[in-house]
């Protein structure tokens, strides 16, 4: 049996998880809460992360708008996701929650705008 220590990233507490695995089966997880158990299973077989970055905006108050994945995204595909974001350009105004790339790279995850980005001239005191 293999003993693995993972640090849970589900919340800011950052608990250390004691995981025992036998080949492809997790035998036990000692965690601070239920989310830790879920995290351990996910992390060992299909690691995912929330990914946040920016994309270019035309005519926006700022030249970029921050974006993030709607759900945790498969970790091995993060480089391809970032490349896809570099190729995107959106037109202001952008609304918070606006889908920037739907089902990105064939996953069930969307990339969405993290905030409104008004047009440059629309910004006033």
């Amino acid at each position: 049996m293999e003993k693995i220590n993972l640090i849970c990233v589900s919340c800011p507490k950052g608990c250390t998880l004691d995981v025992r695995r036998e080949g492809d089966t997790i035998v036990s997880v000692e965690a601070g809460c239920k989310r830790g158990v879920t995290y351990a299973h996910q992390e060992l077989f299909d690691p995912r992360r929330m990914v946040a970055s920016t994309v270019k905006v035309v005519d926006g108050l700022h030249p970029l708008v921050p974006v993030a994945t709607s759900d945790p995204f498969p970790k091995p595909q993060i480089p391809q996701l970032l490349q896809a974001l570099r190729e995107v350009q959106v037109q202001a105004p952008v609304k918070i929650g606006q889908v920037i790339i739907p089902s990105v790279l064939g996953t069930d995850v969307d990339v969405i705008a993290s905030r409104d980005m008004p047009e440059e001239q629309a910004a006033s005191i």
Binding site: I7, V9, C11, G14, C15, A52, H62, I125
Partner: protein
């Protein structure tokens, strides 16, 4: 622009603390509430914190910083909070006059029934950690780099070394990697991580960025631009160990070496500050030593999470509104708090026990040294234990909170001082 010159509550700064304070002030019944913000839009530093992890505590959602900010700002606007943007506050007086300036109106003089200071914090810079060496371009604070990369669209370099394992430093290590830069390594002078463990996993381990504890920058090399840094290992007294120097080629050094509460305005208002951590000495309603001036968020002490800043803002804003309306609970008794064994500081500095009849009072504290074994957090009055809780460990980078409730009222009401100890189990 605003026409009015008298407000019930004036809030300085539109980060999470300020926006929450404004919302709570409105909800508590203050009629005229305004936030003054120097930037062109509301939101504060949250706007450049594009990473996720916000809202888990307060909203049950994992949100990017700008989303978290916008949610609360929209609610504040719906409640009728006014925002005065692009306006710099110059002075705050103990009589609660606020002098500010902007390009539309010149100098503005406002009067407040109560003021909430929520200016946040600022980063420690190269000067404050006295880094030797030449003074080339390419040495920046992590937060400055964060603003350039995430809002303005500039990359400050290609090859980075990051000094300090604070959260912003680690988050920037990942962010720069995302944008195609190379992060050589992160150096930390302490023998332990100064940010959250989850950021070590998500930001450094995920991208194989090495972290070296007990290491610092010995010297910066380069004339016009950083060409390399010399790192060095330090001993327990933080003294460089001879022979451990290493030249690390890089074009940019980012500093993530701590945050200091921003209190230039507080000083002008005559607010008494805690010289150890730089924030105002506040009571459990976040009132400072100057009557009617409140303070909430990183301006008091630097929190790990924006969610907790929001909570502090709610408390401060509600109290400020009550003060402005003449309804703040009278202080019949003041109980001071202090840090005992292993505890560096406790916020608030004093409590009014009568407030326990209306709401819980969280005591927030940090340990002075990491304790990597199970601990007990104990609040006591003299030898008498008031409440306790267990933690699996205690780390300086992770704030500990222990709650006083109404049921504790009787046991603390005859004491003058509460002490919080952290004891190894």
């Amino acid at each position: 622009m605003t026409q009015r010159r008298k407000y019930d509550v004036i809030i300085i700064g539109s980060g999470p603390g300020g926006v929450a304070a404004a919302m709570a002030a409105k909800q508590t019944g203050a009629e005229h509430v305004i936030i003054i913000e120097r930037d062109i839009e509301a939101g504060g530093i949250l706007l450049q914190c594009i990473h996720n992890g916000f809202g888990l505590e307060n909203l049950g959602e994992d949100l990017p910083g700008p989303t978290y900010a916008q949610k609360y700002i929209e609610q504040a606007r719906e409640l009728g909070v006014e925002f005065m943007l692009e306006t710099m506050v110059l002075d705050v007086t103990p009589e609660r006059k606020v002098f500010a300036t902007n390009k539309y109106e010149g100098v503005i003089e406002l009067e407040a029934g109560a003021i909430v200071l929520s200016m946040g914090c600022r980063e420690r810079t190269r000067a404050q950690i006295q880094l030797p060496g030449s003074r080339p371009a390419g040495v920046y604070t992590a937060g400055t780099a964060q603003r350039w990369v995430n809002i303005e669209g500039y990359m400050p370099g290609k090859n980075f070394v990051i000094l300090g394992s604070g959260d912003i430093g680690m988050i920037m290590a990942r962010r720069l990697t995302f944008e195609g830069a190379n992060v050589e390594r992160v150096l930390e002078i302490m023998p332990y991580l100064s940010g959250l463990s989850r950021n070590y996993v998500q930001c450094l381990l995920d991208f194989d960025i090495p972290l070296q504890l007990q290491h610092t920058v010995n010297r910066i090399i380069g004339n016009d631009r950083v060409e390399a840094i010399e790192s060095v290992r330090v001993d327990e007294q933080f003294k460089p160990i001879p022979g451990s120097q290493e030249i690390i080629p890089c074009d940019t050094l980012l500093l993530s070496v701590g945050l200091i509460p921003e209190n230039e305005l507080s000083k002008k208002a005559g607010v008494r500050l805690d010289t150890r951590i730089g924030g105002p000495i506040v009571d459990d309603e976040y009132q400072t030593s100057v009557s009617g001036i409140f303070a909430a968020g990183n301006v008091v002490h630097v929190y790990d999470l924006a969610d907790w800043v929001t909570q502090a803002g709610f408390r401060a804003g509600a109290a400020a509104a009550k003060y402005a309306m003449g309804k703040l609970t009278k202080k019949n008794r003041t109980i001071t708090t202090s840090g005992g064994s292993h505890v560096r500081y406790v916020i608030p500095y004093s409590i009014n026990p009568d407030n326990l009849k209306e709401h819980e009072i969280p005591l927030q504290l940090r340990v002075s040294q990491p304790i990597e074994s199970p601990v007990r957090v104990v609040v006591r009055a003299g030898e008498k234990e008031i409440t306790r809780k267990n933690e699996m460990y205690a780390r300086p980078g992770e704030m500990i909170s222990i709650i006083l409730q109404e049921k504790h009222y009787d046991s603390i009401m005859h004491t003058d001082e509460l002490v919080v100890d952290i004891i190894e189990r």
